[in-house]
């Protein structure tokens, strides 16, 4: 089976140690995590992990089920690139002199839709968001004028689906909770 990039999103309770719990599932299968972003989700008290990894669909399904099996994980999903809208952010630091001496840089910034977030006597910090390829390609261009530092974030993603799977899941769980509480009152 073909290996492609999958984006896995994991929603968890806000508890210590979840990153570790999730990471060991990848380690066991010798899967290299390409990028990882962890942040609060749009729902209060729920954290979101966005993980990209190159693998086969077969394996990804198993990994997702094993992630979901962890007690404090609410739900995990996996997506191919065409099912999501995703982005990464990159920051590039270049010497201010190169910016001033090379008008090509300004053209590049326009073409790539990048912007300057800070300039001082020594350096200029440029920011751009886009896909991993575009980010890399801007780096390759800028590096002709010597990039001092370059960082990129992990991937963030939202689905193209009109179904809000997590909210549906939470609503379902709330019903179950009420049922469980009623059952024990009896």
């Amino acid at each position: 089976m073909e290996k492609i990039v999958y984006t896995i999103t994991v929603y968890t309770e806000n508890m210590v140690g979840l990153l570790n719990q999730i990471a060991i599932i990848f380690t066991r299968r010798h899967l290299n995590i390409e990028s990882l972003t962890v942040s609060k989700s749009s729902l209060p008290g729920i954290h979101k992990f966005t993980i990209t990894v190159e693998s086969t669909e077969d394996l990804i399904i198993k990994v997702v089920r094993q992630i979901e099996k962890r007690i404090d994980v609410l739900k995990a999903f996996h997506y191919t690139d065409d099912e999501i809208i995703f982005d990464e952010v990159a920051l590039y630091k270049i010497p201010t002199d190169s910016l001033l001496d090379n008008p090509e840089i300004e053209t590049l910034m326009r073409t790539y839709n990048a912007r300057i977030v800070e300039v001082n006597r020594n350096f200029a910090a440029i920011e751009m968001s886009g896909s991993a390829d575009v980010i890399q390609s801007l780096f390759d261009e800028l590096n002709k004028f010597k990039v001092l530092q370059f960082v990129r974030s992990g991937r963030v993603a939202i689905t193209r689906s009109t179904q809000e799977r997590l909210s549906n899941f939470l609503a379902e769980m709330e019903e179950k909770r009420i049922k469980a509480m009623k059952a024990c009152e009896k």
Binding site: G17, I61, R65, E68, K69, I71, M173, K176, A180, M181
Partner: protein
């Protein structure tokens, strides 16, 4: 509810009482001393079993859990105390045994400083436990205990670890207990999907050669009767995994024996001939399936399981019925047509006869030569009570015991399946005897395995649980020797054992014992084993080069089955 102001350690014990805990297995130390101190005040309601090693404590708790169905509880100290239970946790995780392990931890201000006896217990135990959590305040204790028991028991059971800092044990808290009924992120019992039920029933109703694989899920779901009704209604023959064996105890005609590497010929051959394969609460372990590329390729496969992560983990299936089998089996049974598959069911007979002649008969009724393992097990089984619990260690003794000991009652097997932990047998048998004192616990162990936890004879000496210990002494690490004979040109590297005098060791612990070398003395010695009140150690010198057959070599399939004759 009114709260009371008490110490964290006392809160822990009160919480355990709320969860109906009456026995804990453990070993004290600096970071758990406060809990043991509180336990002293509760000694009339909670029995404490001091094992001789923490590994003994955790295996004993596993044995206790297997026979009672309730979580086994373990108390250990931080650092080495906690690391000594890791093997037991891994074992319980693979075999879905409910455990609540309470480990002391250094005081919270010291965490992360490499303090004396500090280890990252949550970090070490996470991969081998269902849930592992560090408690740093007394206030959290009731919540954490309630959650721990809920998680250990509900859904697919498993081991849970609470790592409780010393200051949390010491500190005062306002205690109220509320049982955990629900965890938003954990759905222990998936809702039964009616479509899956209908699809499963349709496949089974259309089957000409249905065959069921029975796993421990049936026992954990207390679905033994539901299973029998299911098999009977559609006339479905079945094989059992190692841990599934006691699910259909006591000679049920449709139960055709054990699956897998050292299983019976019929069930293994029929797996490759059936048209619909019905897996019930089992996980397609490689010791059952062998080579997955050729496994049951001719069959449509239905998988009943409670754990979504088991579906298509190893084997692609046509229908998955996700739920507790206690729920799903009756639902499917209701839709089954009464059927008869007489020719198919009878077709097992030929394989049974072949196995009887080529393997079983010579193994259990040898006429000459040294005593065989199967002979001893068969004789013990014949003389054992109907409520007997079979406990085993790991290796040839285990495979032989599971092949030849006739299980006759529910929850009658205590063995280490998934992890294959040598040293499991003795402490697990002790735990089983403590959990079910009215039952007769028979332990078969090897001369190798017993020495891995032999110190637990001290636990027997102190608490006097009745364990009938039978050491099948072949003077070898037998199972490894078997592989060396078959696959490594008889190069017996590190498998020849020099052994102590086992009955003499037992005697040092005040446990009566006896050694049998000749066939003539065997029956009488077994009579003495059972006639003696309490524990007894019987060492039998068996054939040194005994082999467990039939055997399907690892990673191959039933076409490669070896009879060894």
């Amino acid at each position: 509810m009114e709260s009371i102001r008490i110490k964290g350690a006392e809160a822990l014990l009160r919480a355990l009482l709320e969860e109906k805990v009456d026995t804990v297995f453990g070993y004290p130390g600096g970071s758990i001393i406060t809990v043991f101190d509180a336990l002293y005040s509760f000694r009339d309601s909670i029995r404490q079993i001091l094992t001789r090693h923490e590994q003994g404590a955790v295996h004993a708790a596993q044995g206790f859990a297997r026979v009672t169905g309730e979580p086994g509880v373990v108390f250990v100290t931080s650092g080495p105390g906690a690391t000594n239970v890791i093997t037991g946790l891994a074992d319980a995780m693979l075999d879905s045994t409910p455990l609540v392990v309470i480990a002391g931890q250094v005081s919270s201000p010291l965490l992360g400083s490499d303090a004396f006896q500090e280890t990252d217990v949550v970090g070490i135990s996470l991969p081998v436990s269902k849930w592992s959590y560090q408690v740093r305040t007394a206030a959290e204790i009731p919540w954490a205990v309630a959650r721990a028991f809920y998680i250990a028991r509900e859904g697919r059971p498993g081991p849970v670890v609470l790592d409780i800092t010393k200051d949390a044990q010491n500190e005062m808290t306002d205690y109220v207990y509320e049982k955990c009924q629900f965890i938003r992120s954990y759905q222990p019992n998936p809702d039964l999907d009616q479509t899956a039920v209908e699809e499963a029933a349709a496949l089974i109703n259309g089957a000409k050669r249905p065959f069921a694989l029975v796993g421990q899920g049936v026992i954990l779901g207390e679905a033994e009767e539901a299973l029998k009704a299911f098999l009977t209604k559609a006339d479905i023959p079945a094989g059992a995994t190692l841990l599934g064996l006691p699910a259909v105890a006591g000679g049920f005609p449709l139960m055709k024996g054990m699956l897998g590497m050292h299983g019976n010929v019929g069930p293994n051959r029929k797996t490759a001939e059936c048209d619909v394969l019905i897996a019930i609460g089992m996980r397609f372990d490689d010791r059952v399936t062998g080579d997955l590329k050729t496994y049951a390729k001719q069959a449509k496969i239905i998988h009943f399981d409670i754990d979504p992560a088991e579906i298509e983990k190893n084997v692609k299936v046509d229908v998955a019925v996700l739920a507790n089998v206690k729920e799903s089996l009756p639902a499917v049974t209701a839709l089954l047509k009464e059927a008869s598959h007489k020719d198919w069911v009878d077709s097992f007979k030929e394989h049974e006869d072949e196995e009887w002649q080529r393997v079983i008969e010579p193994e259990i009724h040898p006429t000459a030569g040294p005593i065989t393992m199967g002979e001893v097990i068969n004789m013990v089984s014949e003389k054992a009570a109907a409520n007997a619990v079979l406990a085993t260690d790991v290796g040839q003794n285990q495979m032989m015991a599971c092949r030849y000991f006739k299980l006759q009652s529910n929850r009658s097997l205590v063995t280490s399946g998934g992890l294959g932990t040598m040293g499991f047998g003795l402490p697990a048998a002790i735990g089983a005897a403590i959990g079910a004192p009215e039952r007769e616990v028979c332990l078969f162990t090897g001369d190798g395995g017993i020495q891995m936890t032999i110190q637990e004879l001290g636990t027997i000496m102190e608490y006097k649980p009745a364990v009938k210990i039978i050491i099948l002494n072949n003077k070898f690490l037998g199972m490894v020797r078997q592989w060396q004979e078959l696959f490594f040109r008889e190069r017996y590297s590190s498998t020849i054992l020099q052994n102590p005098d086992f009955p003499m060791i037992a005697a040092a612990y005040g446990i009566p014992g006896r050694k049998v070398v000749k066939r003539e003395g065997l029956a009488e010695a077994i009579d003495e084993l059972f006639a003696t009140k309490g524990s007894f150690l019987l060492e039998v010198e068996v054939e040194e080069n005994g082999m467990v057959y039939p055997m399907i070599p690892a990673g191959t399939n039933v076409d490669n089955l070896i009879f060894g004759d």
